[in-house]
């Protein structure tokens, strides 16, 4: 038989169209049983297991916590036992919020992602998220570990944030949180100097301090320097709506403020060691720099590394006000696509991550602080005690008691106190669970509108570029 060219084409076309569909329908039977959950998280932001035996965490009440396998794998098993359904987690990672956003908008499909607060708000504003179900919020269910265990403080912060009239609590479930501050070397930098943002402009530390190479973190530090007099004024601090006013002041984006911030950042650029993306942690430990603008979680990591090298570093949060940041789990519309089984698996994933023992595994592994306070389980506080409680043989101990805001519904209560060594009030404990007095002065940096973002990005470019005018005139 002589097959003509045209016919060949047709055959090829038919094959191309139908063969793949055969495969798809062939898998169809299986698909009904197994749910695939595409999770996208920060790099190194989950317990990957493989702990050494001596890393076993044994709490006072006898609970033993040990990371043997990757937590995402453990979830697959747990989900099958709990819901009788197979789930396959496809886990991938991203490096920056902008990278995640680019991936999502350029066509990568994820069901569950873990961006930072401003990116959550941006995604909410663009209508890309699926709200959590009422079932997820039902605290009477045993396995709703998130709703049962989330810290009342974090929940109240979420309540104050809304986009398009909708509350952040309906679209996001927190994961890790902390404050922005400085890691510093107490031998070189005084505690008082490290307690203010203008450390970045201090000539005494010329070329010995690093600042984050990120628009938002640099902008925040500079704006706090810019309105220092205003926000430390007694009348301002004493006013009944202090926190709202602080938040408004530190979130300004009007042209004059942006210009002032630009000038401050240019001064800072001429004074600091460098803008760093990731090198700051290692440079603190090797002693290249004496202070480093850092998120609390990375600070804990740096402090731990330095401890191993026999070097004592401290952490401080500027007194005039700082940035409260958090990362949270959001479900993406393009991934979930109204598939109820998928949404249930995604919500179960968040709940599994929020189960106190798993939250502890993550905290131990990555050094950040979980938003989980445990609810009726005391495990989280036990872990805090396990990490930082002073032994009987310690001499200089202090009571670290301003943490009720995080663990209890009653922020003025006095139930949670940890007896710890004195240095911990300036070190890891302070970084992981800052005292309430600090947290009162922390504000969330909002998601700016496009116009403000343009203005800020342009000013950032101005800071970083070599100015020809200065050379010529």
């Amino acid at each position: 038989m002589n097959v003509s060219g045209k016919m060949k084409c047709t055959l090829l076309f038919v094959a191309c169209v139908f063969l793949p569909s055969l495969f798809v329908s062939g898998c169809g039977g299986q698909e009904a049983e197994e749910v695939t959950l595409r999770v996208c998280n920060w790099e190194e932001y989950i317990d990957e297991g493989g702990w050494d035996e001596e890393e076993l965490i044994e709490l006072e009440d006898g609970t033993k916590i040990f990371g043997e396998n990757n937590l995402a794998d453990d979830f697959e098993e747990w989900y099958f036992e709990e819901y009788g359904e197979r789930v396959k987690v496809e886990y991938s990672t991203f490096g920056t919020n902008e990278e995640l956003y680019n991936q999502i908008t350029l066509g990568d499909v994820y069901d569950l992602a873990c961006p930072s607060e401003y990116m959550i708000m941006k995604l909410m504003r663009e209508g890309m998220l699926v709200p959590y179900s009422d079932d997820f919020k039902d605290v009477s269910q045993e396995r709703n570990y998130y709703s049962k265990g989330v810290s009342p403080y974090i929940s109240s912060v979420f309540d104050t944030l809304s986009i398009n009239g909708e509350n952040l609590n309906s679209y996001a479930a927190g994961y890790m949180w902390g404050l922005l501050g400085f890691v510093y070397n107490p031998d070189e930098v005084s505690e008082e100097d490290a307690a203010h943002w203008d450390l970045l402009l201090d000539r005494n530390y010329f070329r010995r301090i690093t600042i984050k190479d990120s628009v938002r973190d640099a902008y925040f530090a500079a704006i706090a320097i810019n309105c220092y007099d205003e926000i430390t004024d007694e009348a301002f601090v004493g006013s009944p709506d202090y926190h709202d006013r602080l938040s408004a002041a530190l979130n300004r984006t009007d042209p004059e403020t942006v210009q002032a911030v630009e000038d401050i950042l240019i001064d800072a650029k001429n004074n600091v060691y460098s803008f760093e993306t990731d090198a700051g942690k290692a440079d603190m430990v090797t002693g290249k720099v004496v202070a480093n603008e850092q998120w609390s979680g990375d600070a804990v990591y740096t402090l731990n590394q330095a401890d191993e090298d026999g070097m004592e570093l401290c952490y401080s949060v500027p007194k005039e006000g700082t940035n409260l940041w958090f990362d949270g789990w959001v479900m993406l519309k393009r991934g979930i696509e109204q598939d109820e089984r998928k949404q249930r698996a995604a919500e179960a994933f968040v709940n599994y991550m929020s189960r106190p023992d798993n939250a502890i595994r993550n905290m131990y592994y990555i050094g950040y602080t979980s938003v989980i306070s445990g609810g009726d389980s005391d495990l989280m506080f036990e872990y805090l005690n396990y990490c930082y409680g002073a032994g009987d043989d310690e001499e200089a101990t202090v009571e670290y008691d301003d943490i009720d805001y995080f663990f209890s519904e009653d922020p003025t209560g006095d139930r949670y106190t940890v007896v710890t060594t004195e240095d911990q009030t300036k070190r890891q404990l302070f970084a992981q669970y800052p005292p309430g007095s600090m947290v009162d002065r922390a504000v969330v940096m909002a998601c700016f509108d496009d116009e403000s973002n343009d203005r800020i990005n342009r000013s950032w470019t101005n800071v970083r570029c070599f100015d020809l005018e200065r050379l010529l005139f």
Binding site: S4, K288, C465, F466
Partner: protein
């Protein structure tokens, strides 16, 4: 229907497809974004504002100064080495060449990290001389790319030409400037193009040696990470034109010199 016949010309097909998919198409996309605004209308405002903004021009000048310095230093360092290697009477010439090219086998971030520690040891604080450190690290990084093409063109150099120069009474400086250098121009040009463009855009090196001033590459990166595809693409397009311009000029010089040779 004619029978299928293999033609040698068809061997070019795989590369042609590659060229269209991964070189021509992305280039067109870059040009499209570079000369449209965010609504997709053709616009030259971004282009115009680049050349009137002192900060943008400053970045261009800063990158140029770095790139020119790196290229010149690389050339000055590489030429004698390549000449000695190519003309010397060594037994295992290529083994010696290998020693110079060896660093290329190690990942460059690793090499720069090591160099950074050495520089810290020498200078104490790297932040005092960010420009100098950038040039040092880039020279270190790109030197093999200069040595290789120079070595290749110098080994091919006809020895009898040099001997003829001496026979006609020229001393070494004269032979070098009148015979060896002109004959190795193709090697110099390919070496220069291999070093110049990366030196203008490789901002990873700047990040690693704590130079906080942007070069063209960092500018592109910062625009893309703030979702500004138009300005990012525009700068890529400007760089492209710049390099294209440079290539045309050097081509002209080469063909002119070759023309002169023919006249001799």
């Amino acid at each position: 229907m004619s029978r299928y016949r293999f033609d040698r010309k068809q061997l070019v097909l795989p590369y042609l497809i590659y060229l269209i998919l991964f070189v021509v198409m992305p280039l067109l996309v870059v040009l499209y974004y570079g000369f449209t605004d965010d609504q997709g209308h053709i616009s030259f405002t971004n282009f115009a504002s680049f050349f009137t903004n002192s900060k943008m021009m400053g970045t261009l000048v800063y990158s140029l100064v770095i790139a020119v310095m790196v290229t010149v230093i690389c050339l000055l360092l590489a030429y004698p080495v390549a000449y000695i290697l190519a003309k010397g009477e060594y037994a295992r010439k290529h083994s010696f060449l290998m020693v110079f090219v060896l660093p290329m086998w190690i990942n460059f971030t690793l090499r720069i990290t090591a160099l950074k520690e050495i520089l810290t040891l020498l200078e104490g604080n790297l932040a005092f001389h960010p420009f100098m450190n950038t040039v040092i690290c880039m020279v270190y990084d790109f030197l093999p790319f200069m040595i290789m093409p120079l070595f290749n063109s110098l080994t091919k150099l006809d020895k009898s030409m040099i001997e003829a120069g001496y026979d006609l009474g020229a001393d070494f400086p004269k032979v070098l400037t009148k015979v060896i250098l002109p004959l190795s121009v193709p090697g110099i040009i390919s070496g220069v193009t291999m070093v110049f463009l990366p030196a203008m855009t490789n901002y990873v090196v700047l990040d690693m040696v704590y130079n906080s001033t942007y070069i063209m590459g960092s500018l592109i990166g910062s625009y893309f990470s703030s979702y500004d595809w138009n300005n990012g693409s525009l700068i890529s397009a400007i760089l492209l034109m710049f390099i294209g311009f440079l290539t045309i000029i050097t081509d002209k010089i080469v063909s002119k010199e070759e023309g002169e040779e023919v006249r001799i």
